[in-house]
């Protein structure tokens, strides 16, 4: 990918906020030669152009002994091959490990930020709820006033009832006293009459009444015999 995302300052305007840097660097072939070089030569020499150029250059350097092959060449070849082998084999793993470390750091930061956002939102919710609660204070005062009114009314009614009860008690007492006195008088009278009657029955009258009773009984029994 060519650096189409890197924007050059072609105008006076400053690009702010700066666009982020691209994730990956420019493409290279064989780890060394940028892709732009191949694209640059493509129109004139096609696909094989740069390779021919490379081969030609190397042969020229070797044949003309501009580059001399000596012991350092061998050492360079060995070292470079080991290095290249190492990178090719362990490169991706190390890259992944480093990326993971970075990811963790980012994740922690993002988590902190999200938590902060959530906390703020809950705090706002709580405040709104408290405001709503506060609006209900009219209920409290209504209830209090109701209580006071109820107390007064109950008190007043109790007083009325008390007055009524007292008056009634007194009147009832009078009536009860009278009836009691009446009753006592009646009882006494009856008793006195009975006593005087019993006293006035003399023995003579007793004998006469008993004889009369016997005569009556005989008459009755005669009548009973007749019916039976």
């Amino acid at each position: 990918v060519l650096h189409a995302t890197r924007q050059l300052h072609t105008t006076q305007q400053s690009l702010a906020p700066l666009p982020p840097l691209p994730e990956k660097g420019g493409e290279v072939r064989h780890g060394l030669i940028p892709e732009e070089f191949f694209q640059f030569l493509y129109p004139k020499t096609g696909v094989t152009g740069p390779y021919m150029l490379g081969t030609g250059l190397v042969l020229y350097l070797l044949s003309k002994e501009i580059y001399v092959v000596n012991h350092e060449t061998v050492a360079a070849a060995c070292i470079l091959s080991v290095i290249i082998y190492g990178i090719k084999r362990f490169g991706p793993d190390v890259a992944a490990f480093a990326d993971k470390l970075n990811e963790e750091k980012m994740a922690k930061a993002v988590a902190v930020k999200n938590e902060a956002i959530e906390n703020l939102q809950t705090a706002i919710e709580e405040e709104k709820k408290e405001q709503w609660r506060v609006e209900g204070r009219s209920y409290l005062f209504d209830a209090k006033r109701n209580n006071v009114a109820m107390l007064l009314e109950a008190n007043y009614r109790e007083r009325l009832m008390m007055v009524y009860n007292e008056v009634k008690k007194r009147l009832d007492y009078q009536v009860a006293m009278q009836t009691l006195k009446r009753q006592k008088e009646q009882d006494h009278m009856i008793q006195w009459v009975e006593k005087s009657v019993v006293q006035s029955i003399t023995p003579q009258q007793q004998k006469e009444s008993i004889a009369k009773c016997i005569l009556d009984l005989k008459a009755l029994s005669k009548g009973a015999h007749a019916t039976v």
């Binding site: 956002i117 939102q121 706002i124 209920y139 005062f141 109820m150 109790e158 009325l160 009524y164 009536v175």
Partner: protein
Amino acid sequence: MAGRRVALKAVDWAAFAERVPPNQRAMYNALKTRSDALTARLAALPEKPPAIDWAFYKANVAKAGMVDEFQKKFSALKVPEPVDTQSAKIDAQEKEAAKSTAEYVQASKARIAQYEQQLQKLKSMIPFEQMTFEDLHEAFPETKLDKEKYPYWPHKPIADL
């Protein structure tokens, strides 16, 4: 007796209960039980005491004039109404409460504005991947290392590492 009947406002206990915060629940329960007890007491008393049957008493009580006297005094008697001492206090309390709630609501609104501001700042932050350290110190001032107080690396007390 009919002139002083102040209509009792129906208190919606359910809605009231909703608005009570949990730390004041005990007070609310106490108030409710008081209210219920008073309502029961009021409902148990009849509005007017039953009328006294003067004709019956006049016919039956032998003492002359006693019933007449009682009747005269009874109809002339005015039961004093209980004096309302608390309503003024309740009104004063209500005004007090209105004032303090207005203050509290205002403070609460200020707090909400603060929170909203911070929320806005956090939401409009650039993602961490695109930040430099300078941007981070701008967004979260507490991450800035105090180079004056701790001039030597790591610029913060070792215990904080």
